[in-house]
Amino acid sequence: MKLDVRGEICPYPMMKATAALKKLKDGDDLEVVTDHPPALSTIPWEAAKMGYRAEIEEAARSEWRITLRKAEGALDPMQVMSQLSDVISRAS
């Protein structure tokens, strides 16, 4: 499923992403496109609490694609976030 929250004001990108995750079918991924930089830390965080892992890639200038995928078993949000920051710093 794709969710486009470009242009949205704070905190709607995060609120809409969590609302979409609640409606997501089992086994489906959620792809969120955002141009709101603070959402890059809030969306993966809220998603991790719901058992989703996040991947972030820069889609265009000031636009990012966050892919949220259901993880096996329970997730430790703190661990997810630190892994994410590793991925981001290694992405170069």
Partner: protein, 409 residues
């Protein structure tokens, strides 16, 4: 490798745009100094510095209050508290110089100390509610205007409307609450030493309270863009250091500290930061075009935070350059970080929501004599009791705002 080449080309383009902005700003400084207006040039530079810090650190007062409820996240609030502690020490040194002897009922000129009363609580509740609904307070919306958030332009328009409505009812509020409200400046009761100790202890206690509030969940990590590949050499090292300042987002704490430093510098010059007064002037001038100006205010006014409009006076005041500098500084910072983009809300009702939130904020800021900057971030370090009461009301208003967000899909 192609990606790296593309990235560096994009980075050069961004640097070029930001440099153009810096040249334009410098040309204005040159013009002002040439016209003998060194003071205005100083405020323009300070406004730009505030805008730069706001954009780089994204220190958003709205999120500081809101995210305590929305995500149980206190990162920004802790940064604000740290900034307040630093500013408290700096402001006290400035005030000790301005007014060495306390206890006689007088207050140092320029300090943000305003009367306490129902108006302050009502203003804080309205402002806190409005800023959450609009997605940014006054300073927050101004720096987002510079980043290209079109909804923030609507919020600023709403604020102008709310400020003008407030100005029309100012005299009623003055006779009802402000005029008779006590002006409580802590050093008149506790001296400087006792006041600073009390304020710092209260800020430390709140810091710990926020940590406790967050303790059931670990802290959010800030996202920063991918780092450039590490390469040897002084040039590469300098470039990577520069990217930390101009491209990567700053930690919120760095923003809080930098804002406090800039605010102390402003107070050393004359008076601390206040952003709503200038907007109120714009609103009243606009209303004047259709013969709807507010009646003259009774009572005192506080520079930077409420309507100070002299007939025939120039547009080009210190607060004009602070506010416009803030927007332009944020714009230049966003260009350099490749974060400027016109962001149009897809849903038309969002414009209405931003305007509505802005009206609440504008009205609240008028009757509270200031916003999150003037009546809070500049008031608590001024050792004024009013800053604390406004902060408590802001917290209540934000809570109501978060509740309202759930009904505004």
């Amino acid at each position: 490798m192609a990606d790296v080449a593309l990235t560096s080309k994009a980075a050069r383009w961004a640097n070029g745009q930001a440099l153009l902005g810096v040249f334009a700003a410098a040309a204005l400084v040159w013009t002002l100094v040439g016209a003998g207006a060194q003071g205005l040039a100083f405020y323009w530079i300070m406004g730009m510095a505030f805008g730069f810090v706001f954009q780089r650190s994204r220190l958003c007062f709205t999120a500081a209050f809101r995210d305590l409820f929305l995500m149980q996240d206190g990162r920004l609030m802790r940064a604000v508290l740290a900034g307040l502690a630093i500013a408290t020490v700096g402001f006290t040194v400035v005030m000790m110089d301005l007014l060495p002897r306390t206890g006689f009922g007088s207050v140092p000129s320029g300090a943000h100390v305003s009367p306490v009363g129902i108006h302050l609580i009502a203003g804080g509740l309205l402002f806190g509610f409005g800023m959450v609904v609009a997605g940014g307070c006054v300073s927050g919306s101004l720096y987002r205007v510079g980043e290209g958030y079109v909804a923030s332009w609507a919020a600023v328009a709403g604020m102008l409307l709310g400020l003008e409505l407030g100005s029309h009812t100012w005299n009623w509020w003055w006779s009802f609450s402000m005029g008779g409200g006590p002006v409580l400046w802590l050093p008149n009761y506790l001296g400087y030493g006792g006041s600073v100790t009390l304020v710092l202890a209260a800020l430390a206690a709140l810091y710990l309270t926020v940590l406790w509030w967050e303790s059931r969940r670990p802290p959010l990590l800030a996202w920063s863009p991918p780092r450039e590949p590490a390469s040897a050499g002084v040039g590469a090292h300098l470039r990577s250091e520069a990217r930390k300042v101009f491209v990567h987002g700053w930690p919120a704490l760095a923003g809080g500290v930098a804002l406090a430093g800039l605010n102390i510098l402003l107070f050393v010059d004359d008076h601390p930061l206040g952003v709503t007064g200038e907007l109120a002037v714009w609103a009243d001038r606009a209303a004047g075009l259709v013969q709807l100006s507010a009646p003259p205010f009774i009572g005192e006014v506080l520079a930077g935070c409420n309507l100070v409009l002299m007939q025939g006076a120039s547009w080009l005041t210190d607060t004009f350059f602070l506010d416009t500098g803030l927007v332009f500084g944020s714009f230049v910072a966003a260009l350099g970080a490749r974060e400027f983009k016109l962001r149009f809300p897809r849903e038309k009702r969002r414009y209405l929501q931003s305007v509505g939130g802005g009206v609440f904020m504008g009205y609240g800021a008028t009757i509270a004599i200031g916003c999150t900057i003037g009546a809070f971030f500049s008031a608590i370090p001024s050792l004024s009791v009013s800053g604390w009461i406004f902060a408590a009301a802001l917290l209540g208003g934000s809570y109501l705002g978060v509740k309202a967000l759930r009904f505004l899909p």
